[in-house]
């Protein structure tokens, strides 16, 4: 990832997690990321217009539950937290994408965002993303989180 974008992504990640879910995440090297327990969620938010690609936000199931509980102001054990966890992950991804849109695009070439899509990740898929150089890793309350901004190269003719 471009160093400027990478820096912006880390800042936006901290802002959004803090403001949205009162959670605080620290960037960590991939090798020091807390291990995934169970499955993971990956919310992907395509962008197009001035640039084309997608913003992806991955979390463990346990972190998804914390995000939902904190966002809704309910206890972790309440059924509402587990019921809303996938939706809460999509919503955080949507806010992350919205905040990053200004950095991904340019004033003269803004990007438009599509609604996020959510996927469940098995451990092997999670590991593949974790070690990919384009992924930024974060430890949030000892839970793992991943953030990626990928660009699709323009394939048109000149």
């Amino acid at each position: 990832m471009d160093p400027g974008l990478s820096e912006a992504a880390a800042r936006v990640f901290a802002e959004v997690l803090g403001e949205f879910a009162f959670l605080f995440g620290d960037p960590v090297p991939a090798a020091e990321l807390p291990a995934l327990v169970g499955k993971g969620y990956l919310a992907c938010l395509p962008f197009h217009g001035g640039a084309e690609g997608r913003v992806s936000f991955g979390v463990s199931e346990a972190l998804a539950l914390e995000i939902a509980a904190n966002t809704l102001g309910v206890e972790l054990a309440e059924p509402e937290a587990s019921r809303r966890a996938p939706d809460a992950v999509k919503e955080v991804a949507s806010v992350l994408g919205g905040r990053l849109a200004g950095t991904i695009g340019r004033p003269s070439h803004p990007v438009d965002l599509s609604p996020p899509e959510l996927f469940r990740l098995e451990i092997l898929e999670w590991e593949r993303l974790r070690v990919d150089p384009g992924t930024q890793c974060f430890a949030v309350n000892e839970h793992p989180a991943l953030l990626r901004v990928e660009f699709i190269p323009w394939k048109g003719t000149t």
């Binding site: 949205f20 966002t71 809460a88 919503e91 949507s94 919205g98 905040r99 849109a101």
Partner: protein
């Protein structure tokens, strides 16, 4: 005066947050409706007299932009105040929406005090806060 409010967002979490934030902000609500899609919201707004709409922009199918365009075309923005709730920070987009008749903008995540401020401004502080 309590308001009839419609929350339009494909995320049920956000609709719940809007309801909770309204309660925390002290804005009086007589009816809280929810729509997960723009076309569903449009039908509800055609059939029922809502005062205030909190609307997401980035939704599958009919987006918030499309909904605002349609409401404007049908003359419904004269009686319904639309406040966009989004994470976008593109000033040009927000300005364009205002020219179409959108009355306010709230950045996600919502905060009760900011929501109250925007509702008061948009509705002309008609709900008797005494402030």
């Amino acid at each position: 005066m309590p308001y009839k409010v419609l929350a339009v967002d494909d995320s049920s979490t956000v609709r719940t947050i809007i309801a909770k934030t309204l309660k925390l902000s002290g804005v009086e609500v007589s009816r809280f409706g929810e729509a997960s899609r723009g076309d569903q919201a449009l039908e509800m707004l055609r059939q029922e007299g809502f005062d205030l709409v909190f609307c997401d922009l980035n939704m599958p199918g009919m987006t918030g932009y499309d909904l605002v365009e349609t409401l404007k075309r049908e003359g419904l923005l004269k009686t319904i105040a639309v406040i966009i709730v989004s994470s976008i920070e593109n000033v040009a987009v927000i300005d364009e929406l205002r020219t179409k008749g959108v009355r306010g903008y709230l950045r996600k995540p919502l905060r009760p005090e900011r929501l109250r401020e925007v509702v008061d401004h948009v509705m002309g502080a008609r709900h008797g806060s005494g402030t």
